[in-house]
Amino acid sequence: MTAEATALSCDSGEPAGAADAGSRGFVEFVDVEKSYDGRTFAVTRLNLGVARGEFLTLLGPSGSGKTTTLNMLAGFERPTSGVITLEGRSVDRLPPYERNIGMVFQNYALFPHMSVEENVAFPLSVRKITKTDVAARVGRALDMVRLRQFGDRRPAQLSGGQQQRVALARALVFEPSLVLMDEPLGALDKKLREHMQLEIKQLHTMLGVTIVYVTHDQSEALTMSDRVAVFNNGGIAQLGSPDDLYNAPESSFVASFIGENNTLLGKVERISGKDCRVALDGGGSVTALAIGVEEGAACHVAIRPERLRLVSASNGANGLAATVEGRIYLGDHQRLLARLENGQVLTVKVGPEATMGNGEPVTVSCAPNDCRAFPADAGTGGSISKTGE
C-alpha cells in the first residue's frame, strides 16, 4: 500500500517546512464574486484559503453558493470579479483541462461507453502517457479502490458504491494535487455513504492530496473534514474546525444548521462582559454568552439539547420551570419535549433510564457558557435566499 501511496501522491517528496510556509495559499479565493444575471450574486465577497493537504468541506443548504464556488475552482464557471489562485498562480485564464484538478461528480459521470479500465485510463491517455505505463497506473489505481477484478466491466454493471470508487480512481490516477468532490455520496444509501466517507478519508490520509468537498449533509462534513466552510446566502457564514463549528457557532444560522439546537426567542436586557441577560418572550430570563448582540435588541438564544439538564428545583443560574410534553425513546438516550411557562418548547437529551410522564413538572437548567445569544435579524436559519446555483 505504501508504494501505491507514494506513486499516487503529488508532493510526497516536498519538505514539510516548505509546505507550511505558504500553507493557506495553496488555493486562494480573493474577493471572488459570481453573478449569473447581473443583479443577484450567487457568491459574494468570498475570501478563502485552502492549505496543501487539507480536507476542506464547503457545507450549506442548496442555493448557498457552495457548488458555484467549486465550479469556479474547477474552471467551469468564471468569477464575475476577484481572483482565484492555485499554487500562487492565477487560474483566471486557465481552462479546466489545463488545471490538473481531479473532480468527482454527484452522479459519478463515468463514461458509459467505456469499461472501468478505459474510464480510469482516460485521463492518462489524453496526457500522452505510454501504454505500458498507463496499464500499470490503472492497475494500481484500481487496486487502491479494490476493483481490479472489475476492470473489463461497464459502469452500468456495477453497484452505486463501486461506480463511486471507479470515479475516485479516475480522479486520482493522474496524481492531481487538488481533488474536488461535488456531493459525491449524495446518491448512495445511508450505510454505504458512511462506509464511503471512511474510504475517502483513508485515501486522503494515504495520498496526502488536497480535497475540497461539497455537501449539504452536516454530519458528513463533521466526520470527514479538517475544516468546514459553512455557506449561506452566497458567502461564508463561518469557517473553522468541526468542533469549533459545533461548540462555538458564531451565528444563529450556523448554530441551527450544524447539529441540533434549541432556539429561544427573547430580548437582550443588559450586557456585562462577555455575558448578557436575556428576557425571554412570554416570561422568564437566562444568562447567555453575547455573540454580537446589542442591549435592547431582539435575540435568539441557542442551546444544545445535550447541554440542558434536569434539576430538582430552580437553584441554577439558568433554571427554567417546564412541563413534560412528550418523551421519545431512542435506545441509547431519550429526547424530552419540555414546554416552558412562557410557551416556548425545548428538546432535552436525557438518559435511557428517565421515566417522567406527560404533564409532569420539571426544571430545566443550563450553564451560561452553553447558551449563545445571537442577533435575531442577521443570518437566521429561516431566511435562506435562493440566489442562483
Binding site: 474547477a74 474552471g75 467551469f76 481552462p95 479546466p96 483541462y97 489545463e98 488545471r99 490538473n100 484538478i101 481531479g102 473532480m103 461528480f105 454527484q106 452522479n107 459521470a109 463515468l110 463514461f111 458509459p112 461507453h113 482516460f122 485521463p123 489524453v126 496526457r127 479516475r170 480522479a171 493522474f174 474536488l180
Partner: protein, 426 residues
C-alpha cells in the same frame, strides 16, 4: 414435493434422488410459468389483433400481391394458348417451325375476335419495344384474309427477327424473371445467359444510383445542419429548447405538397433566392435552381431535417452536462472530449437519424416530380410512371421489389453494425 409422498420420507435420500426431485420441481415450475404466461400472451395478442388484421388486409396482402406481379405475368400465356402448345418442343435457337407461326396466327385472330388483341400488343411491347404496331398490323392483315396466314406472318419482318421468338417463348411461361432482370438493366441473351442490356436501353441502374446519390447527399446535408442544431437545443434551458423544437417541427406539420410548392416559388428563376443571391453579389446571373439537382437536394434537405435531427436530439438530451465536464476535468481538450466522450454516446442517435432520412429519401416522389428536372427523377417517379401512365404494373412491381430489397439490406447492415436495441429512433 416430497411432503406429498409420505412413503418415500423414511428412506434416506441419495443425491441422485434429490437432483431428480429438483429437476422435476424445476420442470413443473417452468410448466406453470409457461401456462401463466400463455394467458398473458393471448391477451396481448387479442389487444393487437384488430391492428394486425388491418395491417394484413390493407398492407401485407396488397404488397405481396403487387410484388408477385414482378415475377408472375400470365397475360401472354393466357392470350397465346396455341402458340404455347406449339413452342413446347422448341430449343430456343433460330426460328421455330411453321407450326408455331400458324399457331400464333390463329391465336392473334382469336384475340382479335375476343377484343384482347390490343392488350396483348401492349404486353408484348413492354418486352420488345415496337412490338405493339407490328402486332396490330399483323392482326389487320390476318383479318383481311386475302393471303394464307403463314404467308402473312412471314411477310412481316418482325416475326422473323432474332429477338422476337425468345421473348414470346419466355412470355408463355407465367413465372418470369424478365421484369426483375429489366429492373437491373439485365436480360436473357440468345444463348440463354444473363447479360447487360445495350447502353442505349440501360436506364434503371442509373436511376438507382441517382436515387442513392440524392438520398446520401440529403442525409449528409441534414446531418451537417441538424447536428449542431440538435446540440444547441439539447444544451439551452428548457423553455428556449421548447421554442426551438417547435420551430424545427413547424414545417414538419405542413403538408409536403405545400412545402414543395413553396420551394418552387422560392427557387424559380425570378424567385426570392435568386433575387437575394444577385442582390448580395454572390451570383452574377440568375441560377437555374428549379428543375435542377441542387434545387431538389435543397428542398428535400428542408423536408428531411426534423427526421435526422429528432433522434439525435433525443439521445443528446440524455447525456448529462457532467459528462463533458468530467472529460475536461480529466485533462481532455474540447475536441478530444467531444470525439472520445460525446460522439460515441450520440452515435446511435446519429445513425438512427441518418438511416431514417436515407430510407425515406429513397422513396421520394412529389418533390423530385415538382422540383427536379427530367434528369432528376428518382426511382419512385419511374414506379409511379409505370403504374399511372404506362400501365405496366409488372415493371413497377419489379422496381419496387428491387428498392425494397435494397432498403431492407441497408437496414439489416445498420442493425448488424449497431445492434437494433441501440438504434434509438425517437
Amino acid at each position: 414435493m416430497t411432503a406429498l409422498e409420505p412413503t418415500k420420507l423414511d428412506r434416506p435420500r441419495t443425491a441422485r434422488d434429490r437432483s431428480a426431485a429438483d429437476a422435476k420441481a424445476a420442470k413443473s415450475v417452468t410448466a406453470k410459468l409457461r401456462r401463466a404466461e400463455f394467458g398473458d400472451r393471448l391477451r396481448s395478442l387479442a389487444l393487437a389483433a384488430p391492428l394486425l388484421v388491418l395491417l394484413a388486409l390493407s398492407f401485407g396482402i396488397p404488397i405481396v400481391l403487387l410484388l408477385s406481379r414482378a415475377v408472375y405475368d400470365p397475360t401472354i400465356a393466357d392470350a397465346l394458348p396455341q402458340t404455347s402448345q406449339a413452342l413446347r418442343g422448341w430449343n430456343g435457337a433460330g426460328l421455330p417451325g411453321d407450326a408455331a407461326f400458324l399457331a400464333l396466327a390463329a391465336d392473334l385472330r382469336d384475340n382479335q375476335a375476343m377484343g384482347t388483341a390490343y392488350e396483348l400488343a401492349k404486353s408484348l411491347n413492354a418486352r420488345v419495344p415496337g412490338a405493339r404496331s407490328q402486332v396490330l398490323k399483323t392482326v389487320r392483315q390476318l383479318e383481311a384474309a386475302d393471303r394464307p396466314p403463314l404467308e402473312v406472318m412471314k411477310a412481316v419482318p418482325f416475326w422473323s427477327a432474332p429477338g422476337t421468338w425468345p421473348v414470346i417463348e419466355s412470355g408463355t411461361h407465367s413465372v418470369t424473371s424478365f421484369y426483375l432482370l429489366s429492373a437491373l438493366d439485365l436480360h436473357w441473351n440468345a444463348d440463354g445467359g444473363i447479360e447487360r442490356v445495350p447502353p442505349q436501353q440501360a436506364i434503371f441502374l442509373q436511376v438507382f444510383m441517382r436515387t442513392f446519390f440524392v438520398a446520401a447527399a440529403v442525409t449528409l446535408a441534414t446531418l451537417i445542419l441538424g447536428f449542431p442544431l440538435a446540440y444547441l437545443i439539447a444544451s439551452v434551458p428548457k423553455g428556449l429548447a421548447a421554442i426551438l423544437i417547435v420551430a424545427v417541427l413547424l414545417p414538419f406539420w405542413t403538408s409536403i405538397l405545400v412545402r414543395t410548392a413553396a420551394w418552387t416559388v422560392l427557387l424559380q428563376k425570378f424567385g426570392l433566392v435568386n433575387d437575394l443571391l444577385l442582390w448580395l453579389g454572390i451570383a452574377d446571373d440568375r441560377l437555374d435552381l428549379m428543375y435542377s439537382r441542387i434545387g431538389l437536394i435543397i428542398a428535400m434537405t428542408h423536408i428531411q431535417l426534423p427526421f435526422t435531427l429528432l433522434p439525435i436530439y433525443s439521445v443528446m438530451r440524455t447525456i448529462p452536462p457532467s459528462q463533458m465536464k468530467a472529460a475536461y476535468s480529466l485533462g481532455a481538450k474540447p475536441f478530444t472530449a467531444f470525439r472520445r466522450v460525446y460522439l460515441p454516446q450520440v452515435f446511435p442517435g446519429v445513425m438512427a437519424g441518418c438511416l431514417l432520412t436515407f430510407i425515406l429519401c429513397l422513396g421520394y416522389y412529389i418533390t423530385p416530380a415538382l422540383i427536379g428536372g427530367a434528369s432528376d427523377q428518382l426511382i419512385s417517379n419511374f414506379i409511379a410512371n409505370y403504374v399511372n401512365v404506362e400501365l405496366n404494373w409488372e415493371m413497377a412491381a419489379a422496381l419496387s421489389f428491387i428498392l425494397l430489397v435494397f432498403t431492407l439490406a441497408l437496414f439489416g447492415i445498420f442493425a448488424r453494425i449497431l445492434g437494433l436495441d441501440r438504434l434509438k429512433l425517437v
